[in-house]
């Protein structure tokens, strides 16, 4: 603090020297110069250590390999709840084929509305496609493409992409579905969602949400309330 005051004093005195020399001389000018030079020599260095970021960037330049883009996959065919519990208290679920292998498919059923025994309360708002447009009547633990080829639940994106070409194209260019990780694949990997992470295949419209976070904005709030 005292050194700082010294600077200020010297600044004032030097300014006096410059501005008012025409009429006066200053005897203490040598003191002022001393104070000035002492304060100018402020921070002194110790040792130089190379920064981490530069080391990282040179490393990535040496190996320009790209990191993978991982698309999350469904774990497999869905399991149906039975409302039963096993001996350990865990809910019992069964595979689709548990029931569907014992009954033959009724091709007349196009929507859940005409189902009276199972799946009857299910909401379905996915255009005019019918159950068997996607579900595989030959093996209910899998899906089927429009040409009848079997496709696994884990590869559901192939199925969706048949109709939703523009979305699929956007997705492939990183413009649909969001991402986590690195935008620059030369520096790190990237993770992406698959279709059914965000869209329920039976009610594919993105669900409504309730905002939970509101900045308390000082000036906008007031002007907004006037409108």
């Amino acid at each position: 603090m005292s050194g700082w005051r010294g600077v200020i004093t010297s600044v004032i005195l030097l300014a006096m020297l410059a501005g008012v020399t025409a009429t006066m001389q200053i005897r203490a000018s040598s003191d002022a110069e001393d104070g000035g030079s002492g304060a100018e020599a402020l921070p002194d260095g110790s040792s130089v250590i190379h920064e981490k970021p530069s080391a990282v960037s040179s490393n990535t330049l040496v190996q320009p390999e790209t990191f993978p883009v991982t698309v999350r996959k469904p774990s497999g065919p869905p399991r149906v709840a039975t409302n039963l519990k096993d001996i350990h208290g865990e809910a019992v679920t069964v595979a689709c084929s548990t029931c569907h292998s014992t009954r033959s498919p009724n091709l007349q059923n196009k929507t859940p509305h005409s189902l009276d025994e199972f799946h009857s309360g299910m909401k379905f708002t996915h255009g005019t496609v019918s159950c068997l447009s996607c579900h595989n009547a030959a093996d209910y633990d899998s899906l089927q493409l429009a040409d009848g080829h079997r496709v696994e639940f884990t590869d559901v994106m192939t199925l969706c992409g048949q109709c939703h070409g523009p979305q699929m194209k956007d997705y492939e260019h990183g413009v649909h579905g969001g991402l986590n990780g690195y935008w620059d694949l030369s520096r790190g990997p990237q993770q992406k969602n698959n279709c059914v992470d965000c869209h329920n295949p039976h009610t594919p419209q993105f669900p409504k949400m309730q905002p939970t976070f509101k900045p308390k904005d000082r000036f906008l709030e007031q002007s907004r309330s006037e409108h």
Binding site: M1, W4, R5, I8, V11, I12, A15, M16, G19, V20, T23, M24, Q25, I26, R27, L42, P43, G45, S46, E51, K52, P53, V56, S57, D170, H173, G174, V175, H176, G177, G178, L179, N180, G181, Y182, W183, D184, S186, R187, G188, Q190, N193, C198, F206, K208, M209, Q210, P211, T212, F213, K214, P215, K216, D217, R218, L220, E221, R224, S225, H227
Partner: protein, 323 residues
Amino acid sequence: MTTDNASPQEPHDGEHLKPLLPILDQHSTRRTLLKTAGAALGLAAFGEALSPLMVIPENVSVDEFLQQHYKELTDEDKKKVFARLEAETKERFGANVTITDAKPIPGVRFAYAINVSKCNGNGKCMEACNKENNHHRGVDQSYIRVLEMTKGSMDMEHGSTTYDHTVPQDDKFYLPVQCQQCDNPPCVSACPIEATWKEDDGIVVVDYNWCIGCRYCEAACPYHARRFNWELPEIPAEEVNPNQGYLSNRIRPQGAMEKCHFCLHRTREGRAPACQEACPTGARVFGDLNDPDSAINYVLKNKRVFVLKEELGTKPSFFYFFD
């Protein structure tokens, strides 16, 4: 006032003491009196003009007061400054943090795009920004404002930030607004002390320690993207994000301006910005304009793209598009 003090002293000094100034030895004529009075007045005025420098605010250390502009700091200086800031954060917030100085990636030019067909106004981006960037928890500050807009209107001045209902509403669309990282930034021109500038990768940054808090930039920004720190942010120690950048998310001092910096402490290391990762609708697209195969260039080439307040000529690096 000072002249009154100076002139009566004159005869005494002249008689007995060795005078400070030779002029005081001279005979008391009208000329010397006027000279003395003039000199004393000038000296007093000069001292008064410099007096603010004598007082360093209580919450500013001498080192901070004497700290140079970011661009004039050597690597050595930066090491000291960052160590000081880390120690201050430890003392004030009880958090161990690392402050780094991520530099622009050579050849990279950042841009952002938001799909207004997808954005549903849920506000997760604002929340992620608040957490990532060590914003004041008391006012839930964020660099982003999501505006609820009436369909058919493109005037962001009539958007509402205070909506509190399930989203999206059928007659509304949602427009998240944050710093547009303009190529012709009015805030940078407005700053009287060059405390804010545009970096090579397109990000407009602020040296929070150089900023004097005059808020000219806030007034100059047509997107209301700049925020002022009215008080020192309050953040619980366990919520402080320890990965901090000097020009980005380190805890800002009171009285400094701040703004979105595209999470440069993340994006300059190749990572996605926090708001993009948080967006549950996938409406946000971020990337390198100089890479012809980047997602952002796909948007610019294939979508219906617009920028906010194009007529102002600010040339934003921030785009909005429809599906």
